[in-house]
């Protein structure tokens, strides 16, 4: 059971990471990217292929991330100056193209070249063969504790700022979130953090082979989240949000709109690239079919569920997505047709949400009623 939850945690965290990249591009900058999985494909394949060739895993991930960002640079420079729908079309095309290349190319493996469709295996998965002694376990648990404390701090900070906003509703045209819902959110958030923490500690103590990977992905997720929160609140973040609202305004105010779009696009791509490496380690064997367009739409679902533009909302969306995924996986045991049904039901849930709460779970309702 502990092992199962470790796997679910890794899956959730890597999807959260992946979606944070898209949230930066779409939720914050307004760039429509329908081929986000392309960055994940690049991140996964570059990391794995380099690692199979004997490149140390850290270096391989770093290169994978840089290559993903470079893909963002290439797509961005060619399309970001054009009308925004061009980006949507080009990204979707690039994602499919990369998957087809991954499928049809022959890739090196320890037993000589193999067909892409057979998948890549026998690459190193970080910390899978680790046999930690007591001290090392304690250090890993300490690291997990720091991450949990950080998560609690972020939760607390978010709730506090909402609370404060509630105190000053004068002169505002909208009503902030009610105190009772803040308490509920606090309770849910705390429970989840504590549950993941306890499960993680157990897995580390009685070392489960994926526990190290879990700490790693949580660490990266925490760092990326923190970095994004700093960026969003900085003048840099103000410019990208301004671009999302109306790019002519930052332009008349002397901001190089194209350059900021490119930065956001590349950074979002790099984050998805790292998520791709974790995806490969999570899967243990990567097949081109793991990188179909549906993966991009999972990320869109996550962002829309959570509330576009909100990093915290993206995390909530990823949790819900992952919970849905696990529950239905265990309920609907059966063939491919049931798999399709799961996706259909997910679409239905998103549709219902759009009607009931169009702003997403953590989105701000008042933003929907604003005039352009």
């Amino acid at each position: 059971m502990v092992g199962y939850f470790v796997s679910v945690t890794i899956f959730t965290a890597l999807y959260a990471l992946f979606s944070l990249g898209l949230n930066l591009q779409w939720g914050l900058t307004g760039l429509i990217n329908f081929g986000h999985v392309a960055f994940m494909t690049i991140g996964a394949y570059v990391t794995v292929l380099l690692n199979i060739q004997g490149v140390p895993v850290i270096v391989a991930v770093a290169i994978g991330t840089v290559v993903a960002a470079t893909l963002g640079l290439i797509i961005g420079t060619s399309t970001l100056r054009l009308r925004e729908d061009y980006l949507a079309i080009v990204t979707i095309g690039v994602a499919e193209l990369l998957r087809l290349i991954a499928n049809n190319e022959q890739w090196p493996s320890p037993d000589g070249p193999i067909e892409g469709s057979f998948g890549l295996k026998d690459y190193l998965i970080p910390l899978a063969d680790w046999d930690p002694n007591l001290w090392q376990k304690l250090i890993a648990i300490a690291l997990l504790t720091i991450i949990a404390v950080f998560a609690m701090w972020q939760l607390w900070r978010g709730l506090k700022s909402q609370w404060k906003e509630n105190q000053q509703i004068q002169d505002k045209s909208y009503r902030p979130r009610k105190p009772i819902s803040l308490i509920i959110w606090g309770a849910i958030g705390t429970t989840l953090i504590v549950a993941i923490y306890i499960n993680g500690t157990l897995a580390l103590y009685d070392y489960y082979y994926r526990a190290g990977l879990m700490v790693l992905v949580l660490l990266v997720l925490a760092l990326v989240y923190w970095g994004l929160e700093i960026l969003v609140r900085s003048p840099w973040g103000r410019i990208i949000k301004a671009i999302r609202e109306d790019e002519e305004i930052p332009r008349v105010l002397g901001k190089n709109v194209f350059w900021y779009k490119l930065q956001a696009f590349m950074l979002g791509g790099a984050i998805a690239g790292i998520a791709g490496a974790f995806y490969a380690w999570y899967l243990t064997t990567v097949y081109p079919s793991n990188f179909e367009s549906i993966v991009t739409f999972y990320a869109w679902t996550i962002i829309i569920l959570g509330g576009a533009g909100s990093n915290a909302g993206t995390l909530v969306g990823a949790l819900i997505f992952s919970a849905y995924n696990e529950i239905t996986r265990n309920l609907f045991v059966g063939g491919a047709s049931l798999d399709a049904l799961r996706i259909m039901i997910m679409g239905l849930i998103v549709m219902i949400l759009m009607i009931w709460r169009p702003q997403g779970i953590l989105g701000k309702k008042e933003e929907l009623t604003l005039g352009k």
């Binding site: 909208y174 301004a242 609202e245 305004i249 930052p250 332009r251 105010l253 002397g254 533009g309």
Partner: protein
């Protein structure tokens, strides 16, 4: 023109030309503007005034023509570079960043903010905090002067049409420009407020900012401007002091509708 006069020109555009398909929106137009002046630009609907603004700020690339701002040719520059050089514009239909607060709208404008650079966001956090405090103070002062201070923390998208005009003007001011191009600042604004806007413009002008104003409200033009340029069907019709323009028979016929 003597050397001295030339140096006194903040903006000088000549031979500007722009066709949209079969329409010549701006036809060989010229405009000169002195440092520290408030210059008016008038003309009938569809005369090409807004298009001329677009050409000056390079939002639309002219077919031909030359624009010299502050002694340098700027036709080849991208619009954000032109803004950085100190020429900023507003839009005929006010544009605001709806889902950002009024204050954030203001804070977007200052030039060369340390925190606009991705790496400085991490390296220069102290400097950024200092600048933010300064910019916030300045923004609140300006918002105070246009009567939007109470709205500072509300969404800009929740402002009324007239308030948006005010916010747009206030925001442009935050950019510390040398020249502000205003496209119909008084349109849709109530008469008392128009009076206040005019006062603000005069005040800001005294602080050294030059203005080029498109406006259909003749009282505004006549009370504010040192010099008025008239455009009709894309070409220059006349230019002169407000009195000269008011008494120019051609202008009266083409624009003021008196014969």
């Amino acid at each position: 023109m003597t050397q001295n006069q030339q140096q006194n020109l903040l903006l000088s555009a000549s031979g500007l030309h722009k066709r949209f398909g079969g329409i010549t929106a701006v036809n060989n137009a010229q405009i000169d503007l002195h440092r520290g002046s408030i210059t008016g630009l008038i003309g009938p609907n569809g005369a090409g005034k807004t298009t001329l603004f677009n050409l000056l700020s390079n939002f639309i690339t002219p077919d031909r023509g030359e624009v010299i701002f502050d002694g340098k040719a700027i036709n080849q520059l991208q619009s954000h570079h032109i803004a950085q050089k100190g020429m900023v514009r507003t839009f005929q239909v006010a544009r605001v960043l709806s889902r950002l607060s009024v204050l954030e709208n203001m804070l977007l404008a200052p030039q060369k903010q340390t925190g606009e650079n991705f790496f400085q966001v991490w390296l220069g956090r102290k400097q950024i905090r200092k600048e933010e405090v300064e910019n916030k103070e300045k923004a609140m002062l300006i918002l105070e002067s246009v009567g939007l201070a109470a709205k500072a923390r509300d969404y800009a998208g929740a402002l009324s049409g007239g308030q948006r005009k005010l916010l747009e003007m206030a925001r442009v001011l935050m950019a510390d420009p040398k020249l502000i191009l205003l496209d119909e600042p008084a349109a849709g604004v109530n008469p008392t407020l128009i009076g206040q806007i005019c006062e603000h413009i005069t005040n800001w002008n005294k602080q050294g900012i030059s203005f080029l104003i498109i406006e259909h409200n003749m009282d505004v033009i006549m009370s504010l401007c040192d010099r008025v340029w008239v455009l009709a069907e894309g070409s220059n019709l006349a230019n002169g002091t407000p009195e000269e323009i008011q008494n120019n028979p051609e202008v009266l016929e083409a624009y003021l509708g008196v014969d």
